[in-house]
């Protein structure tokens, strides 16, 4: 079983606030095969995302696969429960919060 970095399989990997208390991460693939590889790997799940972002599992609120646009959405409570613009916040718009996913290794069959 080989593995490949998520960032090598996707064309868009982005994050943004979905309101001040939630971060939402969008992943889009150009390529059907890449999308299927990620989806079928099963690695984008609540437990893995919780480990990756070091947040409680219950704070991973939703993971959605949208096949027709080869898109995946992950929505979570902001890490540390620090709301956008709150005094401890360092990413007001949540634009850099996709980074932990970038180097996630996706298992691929060869």
């Amino acid at each position: 079983m080989n593995a490949i970095r998520l960032s090598d399989l996707v064309s868009i990997l982005r994050s943004k606030n979905a309101g001040p208390f939630l971060t939402t991460i969008d992943i889009f693939c150009e390529n059907d095969k890449h999308y299927e590889t990620i989806k079928k790997s099963g690695i984008i799940n609540q437990s893995e995302i919780s480990k990756l972002f070091k947040i409680p599992e219950k704070d991973v609120l939703g993971i959605y696969f949208y096949d027709s646009v080869k898109g995946i959405k992950i929505t979570m409570v902001k890490p540390g429960h620090v709301a956008s613009g709150d005094i401890a916040c360092t990413d007001t718009l949540g634009m850099q919060q996709y980074i932990p996913l970038k180097h996630l290794m996706i298992p691929v069959d060869r």
Partner: protein, 464 residues
């Protein structure tokens, strides 16, 4: 009306609205031009702030509003936009109206405008609580009371509400040249005119959701304008810029943008379900969309409020010495302890060391265990109930960073590269969200005051 042709101006305020692209859009003969200018994305600071031009500054804003008014006047079509910088508070709405007034005076436009405030009077919200209305929080957070209390309202600096399309529909019926709102639901701005003309709500909401951010629904997504043609059972969407295109994928995937869920979004009076929506490519640049469904629910509006957290003073320091970099955690802890010893008995305060080059951006989610940076930037960030104390703590911390000892130190003339002179930045009040709740309404227009203003107008601020 058989169809509605709507030009969406792109997000307003950054000076991004393009005269050329508006001209391209006007070629398709729009019935109306719509823009959005309020947001909570830049955080609570702007709703707290008394700066009426806020996030983007006056001249950028004036440029964008000027282009929208110019298009509306040239084509004799109505305009709708929300205004605030960007919170949509009354103060910031007044800033927008001052700009409109300047433009009308300079260009000789005579405009009758319905202005709708989005800020709620505290007494109004309190009266709802007294009537027994349960105003529940929208998200589980320590900052938010589960059910809004009178204390929350008293602590809030300001409260605004995202008005739905209904007050705008009411305003459009007043025989005006345009509508300017304070805080408003983005899709509501785009829904009002089509709903007034009897179009299907699910379709209208889906069109609004698609075009509300301009050409962010184009491929590639870009901050430019967009055009929609709404028919009885579908709508068409394409960018006026002939070099750009909408694709099935770009339009369908815009449903992802800034939303927690893809297929369901709760709005005042219902939610839009696009799980069965149909997207078809009709030509190289145009997508046809149908089958969005509106599912009615009890009517609620979101209300947003901020309270002061304290006064903030910051300073910026660079560190390049590898010996200090490898001991940075110890160095910061030591300074923090000394600061608490010195000021802990005087005042409550929050002290943050944002260490760029280590983990400032991602905090607890930072995946790298080992820092490998040759250079660090530390933003010292102090928040205290009194601005003088905040200044004093920041200066003390900076002084400690200059001369605090650490093992192997050679830099006895000072440890940090200070970025600015003056070194410390007094940022004034710092705010946090304390209201993010759902207010049930029987009449969607009840809290939103509409006033007709004729521009040019010398009495903008004399609202009451």
């Amino acid at each position: 009306m058989d169809e509605i042709r709507m030009l969406q101006s792109s997000a307003m305020g950054y000076g991004n609205v393009s005269r050329e692209l508006i001209k391209e859009g006007l070629k398709y003969d729009p019935h109306i031009i719509v823009g959005q200018g309020t947001s909570t994305d830049p955080g609570p600071g702007y709703l707290g702030s008394d700066d009426i031009f806020g996030y983007v500054g006056k001249s950028n804003k004036k440029r964008d509003i000027g282009l929208i008014l110019e298009a509306a006047v040239e084509k004799s079509i109505p305009f709708i936009f929300s205004g605030g910088s960007p919170s949509g508070s009354n103060a910031q709405l007044e800033g927008v109206l001052r700009i409109v007034n300047e433009i009308c005076t300079e260009k000789g436009y005579k405009l009758k405008v319905a202005v709708i405030r989005g800020e709620l009077e505290k007494n109004y919200v309190k009266s709802k609580i007294k009537q027994g209305v349960r105003i529940q929080r929208l998200v589980d957070s320590d900052r938010l009371s589960e059910v809004l209390s009178v204390d929350d309202i008293n602590q809030a600096k300001r409260i605004v509400s995202q008005m739905g399309p209904e007050p705008i529909m009411k305003a459009l019926e007043m025989g005006v040249d345009g509508v300017i709102t304070g805080r408003a639901l983005d899709i509501g701005l785009h829904m009002a005119f089509p709903l007034l003309n009897g179009f299907n709500k699910g379709l209208v909401a889906h069109m609004a959701k698609t075009i509300e951010c301009g050409a962010l629904c184009a491929d590639p997504p870009i901050n430019e304008n967009i055009f929609a043609i709404l028919k009885q059972d579908y709508f068409l969407v394409f960018p006026p810029n002939p070099e750009k295109k909408c694709t099935i994928r770009s339009v369908a995937s815009h449903a992802f943008y800034e939303r927690p869920d893809i297929s369901k979004e709760i709005n005042p009076g219902g939610y839009l379900d696009i799980s069965q929506a149909k997207f078809e490519q009709v030509d190289r640049r145009t997508v046809r969309v149908s089958n969005g469904k509106w599912v009615p629910m009890p009517y609620t509006v979101k209300i947003e409020g901020v309270k002061i957290a304290g006064y903030r003073t910051v300073t910026v320091a660079g560190i390049r010495d590898d010996n200090l970099i490898k001991q940075i955690d110890w160095f910061i802890d030591d300074i923090r302890k000394r600061t608490v010893d010195k000021f802990g008995g005087i005042s409550h305060f929050d002290l943050f060391f944002h260490v760029y080059g280590k983990d400032a951006v991602l905090g607890i989610s930072e995946p790298k265990d080992l820092m490998t940076s040759d250079e660090l930037c530390i933003v010292v960030d102090v928040i205290a109930p009194d601005p003088e104390i905040s200044n004093a703590i920041c200066a003390y911390v900076r002084g400690r960073m200059f001369f605090n000892d650490y093992p192997g130190r050679t830099s006895t003339a000072g440890n940090i590269a200070t970025l600015f002179s003056p070194a410390d930045i007094q940022m004034g009040e710092s705010y946090v969200w304390n209201i993010w709740h759902s207010l049930p309404l029987e009449d969607p227009c009840e809290p939103f005051k509409i006033k007709i203003l004729n521009f040019p107008n010398s009495k903008i601020s004399q609202w009451e």
